[in-house]
Amino acid sequence: MVEPLLIIDRLTVTYPGRGLRARPFTAVRDVSLDVRPGETVGLVGESGSGKSTIGRAVLGLAPVTSGTIRYAGHDISRARRGEWRKLAGDLQVVFQDPYSSLNPALTVETILMEPLTAGGVPKREAAQRIRGLLDAVRLPKDSLDRLPREFSGGQRQRIAIARALSVRPRLIICDEPVSALDLSTQARVLAMFREIQETSGVAYLFISHDISVVRTLSHRVGVLYRGRIAEWGECAQVTERPAHPYTQRLLLAAPVADPIRQARRRDRWLAARSNTIPQPR
């Protein structure tokens, strides 16, 4: 059995309320999951279900109220910035919005160099490495001295992926990385994610609201509902034979591109709609 790379154990994230009378808000409650090396774990849920908060907590961008996050054997849930850097330096991220996740004022070269030089890689070697990265994400060679706004959404997301790959991470948190992309671009970027995983052995914690996206890439899937994990298991089992009523409803609500099958699904969705969903424990 392989030792998991990331272990999240009973994670709870509570944001303090703003103002005097506001109550604190618990975004994530008692969530446990693990990611093994080279594995993709999908997290699916609707807006406000807490899926992005889990990713942010792993990255040290959201406060961990209780529970632990262990990465490569070290507890990083309450690590200070400097410590976190040492322990989880090879943890990376690709955000949803390829428009705001790249600094518009910097050239692609500077954007790609930054994590490398910050990690102490010599300039010459860094420059060499980013040239290889451009190949890996299939961006033209002359991209380096251009600005992010000269690229389309799909290309920008490739830049973001290249930036994440530059430090040879073992785990990348992917927070809705294809949600802002067109259908055809989305398919290409997903194929790239998969290819990179197969060649480099990187693991993904893949967060998305779109169950069909999660399904194609994940080995295991967690379904989040109101800050808790409603269902957790092997991808095929969760997405094809879901046990939890919420998962079933989520699956049925997504329309398929076939009028005849969709009409049948809609009838089943209408029937399932009236059932109440038990709050997961």
Binding site: G38, N103, A187, T216
Partner: protein, 596 residues
């Protein structure tokens, strides 16, 4: 997914300085400043006189060939004194601005970036500084430090740094939570570097504008202080000239004019310069990303012929609710040519039909929709074609007639429900208002109708929702309210631009169900713009596929989904993930082998 704004002027890749110089006003301002400073350096050679050289027989003379601006009460050359006063005045004013900007920027960055206690203390101190009466402080400083202008200017700079802090702090707050800052944190970039590389550049614009304005103010205050006699009266400066001129105002009024003009003009130039910088910065704001995308869509890709049979149908057909023919929409391009974002679109929708318009971002589908309701953004215009709504051509209609059609014949549901509700007004008042204007209903009748509508769109507690403000309701609820508003004036055609894209799948299913129900009840025709093939399969009768400003294929949903004819349509279907296989189970052995 989101159709961005149409192409604008091409402003990429040019430095701010170059752009300011290309702006005529900016060039004038900079030219004036450079000349003024040069004149200050070459004061002696230009004027030909020493500023303190006395011409005993030429006291208080008017302008002449020897003394261009005349002489003062001691017989000294005013022009020479004015030129020699330039550099000291500008230097003193710069001291204040530099102190203010250094302090304000430093503390603004630290407070904005780190938040917590630095932010609290910084804000309080800034408030305190802004509440201080500047002149009184300077008077106090003067009594303590004596007539040293640089020290007083440093004090002025400290007082003004409060305002600077505020501007910088606000700018930092704007970017502090941007994803690229989060990304840099994850990439182990140090805080100092994040501030210098990622945050400082965004602060640059507002800081330059403010500094220019403060420069103008400082010049006025510096001159004012000297004028009041608080500075060193023997040091050259514009304030001294002002002081001397004032003493002779009744004898030689012209003497006061020269320093006043110099001070006034320089202040105005600094203010104008600030404005030019602001305008140039605002111009880059129009989403340059969209420019790139929009242009790619308009001029790239092979052109495709659309089905000629569809175009042959008469657009004025009595059955058609909407008949679009040969529609061309253009935007002015960078080189003066018209950029066609919609290029010859035909569309026909019959009564009670739900027609899907699909395509990827930049294909021009939103532009078609905005043409139909004649709400194209700035610069966009219908270059050719006709749009018949109920037998009348919208393209040639007066704005007033169009106003009557909106809401009553054609209604619109936008993509982002939340940003289309005004946060200041209750949901109810936003529903009631259009009905009172369009249908001429009384207050009570409109209110009752609004309640009915809310119920009709499936809101359980219409009374409570009627009195709620937009921030109190969810996104799905907001979209229901917008749909209620859209059907409130009894339209025949409903145009929905990506009505479910911003919503969760479960809410999307509910909204689609609602549209289906409304179509049944009201016999509505719907033009549904979407990029989601599943949505089309779910609700549409007919579908048109759009690519690069053209419709490449039109037909019934059953036909096209069963047998897509155009390669682009087939490519779209191939990209759906509906039937993509799930991932093979995790095999650890392989990974270990790969990883070594």
């Amino acid at each position: 997914m989101i159709d961005r704004k149409p192409p604008g002027p091409d402003t990429r890749r040019r430095s701010l300085m170059a752009r300011v110089l290309q702006n005529p006003l900016g060039a004038i301002c900079l030219g004036y400043l450079v000349l003024t400073i040069l004149a200050g350096f070459m004061a002696s050679s230009i004027s030909g006189h020493h500023p303190n050289e006395v011409f005993p027989r030429e006291i208080r003379l008017g302008p002449s060939a020897a003394h261009w601006m005349g002489t003062d009460s001691s017989g000294r050359d005013i022009f020479s004194r004015l030129l020699h006063g330039t550099l000291p005045t500008l230097r003193d004013a710069s001291i204040a601005v530099i102190v203010a900007s250094l302090l304000g920027t430093l503390f603004g960055l630290v407070a904005g970036y780190f938040g917590k206690w630095p932010e609290k203390i910084g804000t309080r101190v800034a408030d305190l500084l802004m509440a201080l009466p500047g002149l009184v402080v300077l008077l106090a400083v003067r009594t303590v430090v004596g007539p040293s202008m640089p020290l007083m200017m440093i004090a002025l700079g400290i007082v003004m740094s409060g305002g600077f802090f505020r501007v910088v702090h606000a700018a930092v707050l704007g970017v502090r939570n941007e994803l690229f800052v989060d990304a840099a944190r994850v990439f182990r970039v140090s805080d100092t570097r994040i501030i210098l590389r990622h945050i400082l550049p965004t602060v640059r614009g507002p800081a330059v504008i403010l500094a220019a304005n403060l420069m103008a103010i400082s010049i006025a205050i510096q001159a004012g202080l000297v004028f009041l006699g608080l500075g060193d009266l023997f040091a050259p400066g514009w304030g001294n000239l002002l002081n001397g001129g004032f003493a002779n105002i009744y004898i030689a009024p012209l003497e006061l004019l020269w320093p006043s003009v110099a001070i006034g003009l320089t202040c105005v130039i600094f203010f104008l310069f600030g404005n030019v910088v602001r305008d140039e910065l605002a111009r880059t704001g129009i989403n340059a990303a969209a420019v790139a995308r929009g242009q790619g869509a308009a001029d790239g890709n092979a052109r495709h012929r659309h089905d000629p049979a569809a175009a042959d149908e008469a657009p004025t057909d009595g059955q058609a609710v909407l008949g679009v023919r040969g529609l061309v929409v253009g935007y002015p391009g960078a080189d003066g040519r018209v950029n066609r974002v919609v290029d010859g679109v035909d569309l026909r929708i019959a009564r009670g039909e739900i027609h899907g318009l699909i395509g990827e971002s930049g294909s021009g589908k939103s532009q078609v929709v905005l043409s139909i309701i004649r709400l194209l953004p700035e610069g966009g215009r219908i270059v050719a074609g006709s749009i018949f709504l109920g037998g009348r051509d919208v393209v040639r209609m007066m704005e007033r007639e169009m106003d009557r059609l909106r809401g009553r014949y054609v209604a619109y549901i936008p993509q982002e429900p939340m940003s289309n509700l005004d946060p200041v007004f209750t949901v109810g008042s936003q529903l009631v208002e259009p009905m009172r204007i369009q249908l001429g209903l009384g207050r009570r009748a409109a209110r009752n109708r609004a309640m009915e509508l809310l119920e009709q769109v499936g809101i359980d507690d219409p009374k409570r929702v009627f009195d709620s403000y937009p921030h109190q309701i969810s996104g799905g609820m907001a979209q229901r309210i917008l749909i209620a508003g859209a059907i409130s004036c009894g339209p025949t055609l409903l145009i929905a631009d990506e009505p479910t894209t911003a919503l969760d799948v479960t809410i999307q299913a509910e909204i689609l169900e609602l549209l289906r129900e409304l179509r049944r009840q009201l016999d509505l025709a719907v033009l549904l713009v979407t990029h989601n093939l599943g949505v089309v399969a779910d609700i549409c009768d007919k579908v048109s596929v759009m690519q690069s400003g053209r419709i490449v294929e039109t037909g019934s949903v059953g036909d096209i989904f069963a047998d897509p004819g155009h390669p682009y349509t087939r490519a779209l279907f191939a990209a759906t993930l509906d039937d993509a296989p799930t991932r093979a189970p995790y095999a650890s052995g392989l990974i270990e082998a790969n990883h070594g």
